[in-house]
């Protein structure tokens, strides 16, 4: 365990720790571009140069292993001069794009220039090397070679994380540029992480470009509901609209976020978002829709069934359980979902596309109910006359519903989710709009935090269930998400 001194403070670090990481442990930020904690060390940007006593030259903190008795200085005049010089070099051929660059506000060059340089360029603008600008490469990214500082984070991401190795530095010297095979698209399922790791404005997201200046964005930490992995995310939004979803790196689950997970937010502000009820394909106001639905359930009170959903939060599943047990007073309900879970691609994407099968099983553990197979058999045999569930869960019983002919009542957030043949559909607030508890494939409980408000009149699913029960003449007393959770978590 080597002991070293950084800026007068001594600390002991694990063998193999680099000077940069050791400094980080002390809270000393060494500026860097090419270093990334989850990628191999490249040492090419030279931004992290520090002074080490008894070393004749400055050393790159990212690639120098901490050694016993090492004395490091990160803020001497020599280091400061080196940073200024490195920045001057990196900015030599960098275009003056900042006013029209989407990275402005979260750009490594802007930040370090203000912090470490503030020098006027001695290089005439007309001598700058010109390169290809705004090249769409693949469905998610645009590459601007002129802005690139060749840190190779993107190259290493593709080689080491996705192992697809599409990118490389072509040519050499001041003619170098990042490129991939002609005619090939950069579409490896994780490509938007490249826009995140890019410290400058070379790689930008086609989805996010020019939608919003980053300094206007508000950030809400939440959870990705794209699959059972349950990655921690951060939703960036402003004035009631979501603009992008970024990963919130954590030791348990994720450093990155897949492209599909980043696009889940699109459904929230999609054109087919439901704010009213749907009865047999016709949109109707919410209250009449609830009344109609309640009377259809009452008609078949004795033969009603409820199926929970692995796409719903524990709260909303619990509310559905209360509906079955306390309002319908039936034993025909199931919260039993056992899809195979586990990381499918060795990175993040789960075999189970639903985010909360484990959470639904907790409702089952507390409230009981039938196994999924038992309920499916009852639906198929026609013993169930009316089934209440969530739209995507209804698809799990598609064939049984066809065989048994039960009337289907679903909760759906978007019109495109409504399964064919649904009799009534009720809208609900999704989890960018309402808090909910989810249990991921590792059994970790995670809560979504609302980033934006639901469309007018749309309430969380537990509140909709409460209203539905009132129309049927029962009060479930579901006044809050916590009330629904009582006795379950």
């Amino acid at each position: 365990m080597p002991k070293l001194t950084i800026d007068g403070k001594t600390l002991e670090v694990a063998k193999g720790t680099t000077v940069l990481e050791a400094a980080q442990q002390l809270g000393v930020h060494v500026p860097r571009y090419c270093y990334h904690p989850k990628l191999s060390v490249s040492g090419n940007c030279r931004m992290c140069l520090v002074e080490v006593e008894k070393s004749p030259k400055l050393l790159t903190a990212c690639s120098t292993e901490a050694a016993e008795g090492m004395v490091v200085h990160t803020a001497t005049e020599k280091v400061k001069a080196a940073r200024r010089d490195v920045l001057e070099y990196l900015l030599l051929n960098h275009p003056l794009d900042c006013p029209v660059c989407d990275q402005a506000g979260e750009c490594g060059l802007q930040d370090y220039y203000m912090e470490h340089s503030r020098a006027k360029s001695r290089f005439p603008a007309e001598d700058k090397v010109r390169r290809q600008k705004r090249r769409p490469l693949g469905p998610h990214l645009v590459l601007d070679n002129e802005r690139c500082i060749l840190c190779t984070r993107c190259v290493r991401f593709c080689a080491e994380v996705t192992k697809t190795a599409e990118l490389e530095v072509m040519e050499r010297g001041d003619r170098s540029f990042i490129d991939l095979k002609e005619g090939r698209a950069l579409d490896n399922g994780y490509s938007l992480n490249i826009a995140d790791v890019c410290p400058v404005g070379a790689w930008t997201s086609r989805d996010f470009r020019f939608k919003q200046r980053v300094w206007f964005l508000k950030k809400t930490p939440t959870v990705c509901l794209g699959c059972a992995t349950g990655c921690l995310t951060e939703v960036h939004h402003n004035e009631g609209a979501i603009y992008r979803v970024m990963p919130r790196p954590n030791a348990e689950t994720n450093t990155w976020l897949c492209d599909a997970g980043r696009m889940v937010y699109k459904a929230v502000q999609a054109g087919d978002r439901l704010a009213k009820g749907v009865i047999k394909n016709g949109l109707i106001e919410l209250e009449p829709a609830l009344r109609e639905t309640a009377s259809r359930i009452d008609e078949n009170h004795a033969a009603a069934a409820v199926l929970g959903s692995p796409w719903l939060s524990v709260e909303d599943n619990a509310a559905l359980a209360r509906l079955a047990k306390d309002a319908l007073k039936t034993e025909n309900f199931s919260f039993d979902f056992n899809a195979e879970q586990g990381i499918k691609d060795g990175i993040l994407i789960n075999k189970d596309p639903a985010p909360n099968a484990a959470g639904a099983r907790r409702v089952k553990a507390a409230c009981g109910g039938l196994s999924f197979g038992e309920l499916a058999a009852k639906v198929a045999s026609g013993a169930v006359k009316v089934l209440v569930t969530e739209a995507r869960a209804a698809a799990l019983l598609k064939n049984e519903l066809k065989a048994g002919g039960a009337r289907l009542i679903v909760f759906a957030a978007n019109r495109s989710e409504i399964p064919q043949g649904a009799y009534a559909t009720l809208p609900y607030a999704n989890y960018f709009e309402t808090p909910g508890t989810f249990v991921n494939f590792q059994g970790l409980e995670r809560r979504t935090v609302p980033a934006v408000a639901a469309p007018e009149g749309v309430r969380p699913l537990w509140a909709m269930v409460n209203r539905l029960a009132v129309y049927s003449g029962t009060s479930l007393h579901l006044d809050s998400a916590e009330a629904a959770l009582k006795g379950i978590l």
């Binding site: 080689a159 697809t164 190795a165 599409e166 990118l167 490389e168 530095v169 072509m170 040519e171 050499r172 010297g173 490129d179 991939l180 095979k181 002609e182």
Partner: protein
């Protein structure tokens, strides 16, 4: 017709690969081998070599584009490669390049219409002590000046690729 690696190449490649602990270490010698066969390394050849060595195509392309010694298009009968690095630059390489451009009527990277000359500016040829240097095909011409260059061009026009007085 899709590009395929010849059997001769594959036999030689097996020998080259055997010299290295890792297959990817054989990349540069095999690119040289390909260039010896055809005179240049075509895009399809890079693809085939990448598959052969189990490397990503981008890696092969990156190496080919990094080294100026690999031609990506067929070169003329005489490939004039003028070093453009520091020592040669200071010893007058820009003047030599300008003279060649003017006399041949082509820019760097181009080939004369008669197919005789291809002009390239290349990276360090490792002969800084005798700068400025130009490599013609596989032969070095060192300590060049305008007079020597003119004499050399005259020789080459008559099909004589030979050393000139030092």
């Amino acid at each position: 017709m899709p590009f395929t690696l010849t059997e001769t190449f594959k036999t030689r490649a097996a020998l080259v690969c055997a010299r290295y602990p890792r297959k990817d270490a054989a990349l540069i010698p095999l690119l040289q081998e390909l260039q010896r066969e055809k005179g240049y390394v075509a895009e399809e050849a890079m693809d085939a070599l990448a598959v052969f060595l189990g490397l990503p195509y981008s890696r092969v392309k990156a190496v080919v584009t990094f080294y100026t010694m690999f031609n990506r298009v067929p070169a003329g009968k005489y490939h004039l490669q003028v070093c453009r690095n520091v020592s040669c630059h200071m010893a007058g390489a820009p003047g030599l390049l300008a003279r060649l451009r003017e006399k041949l009527g082509i820019a760097e990277g181009e080939t004369t219409k008669d197919g005789l000359f291809t002009l390239s500016a290349v990276e360090c040829l490792g002969a800084c002590g005798t700068a400025p240097v130009m490599q013609v095909n596989d032969t070095y011409f060192e300590k060049l000046d305008a007079g020597k260059l003119d004499a050399l061009l005259e020789d080459l026009r008559h099909g004589r690729l030979r050393a000139i007085g030092r």
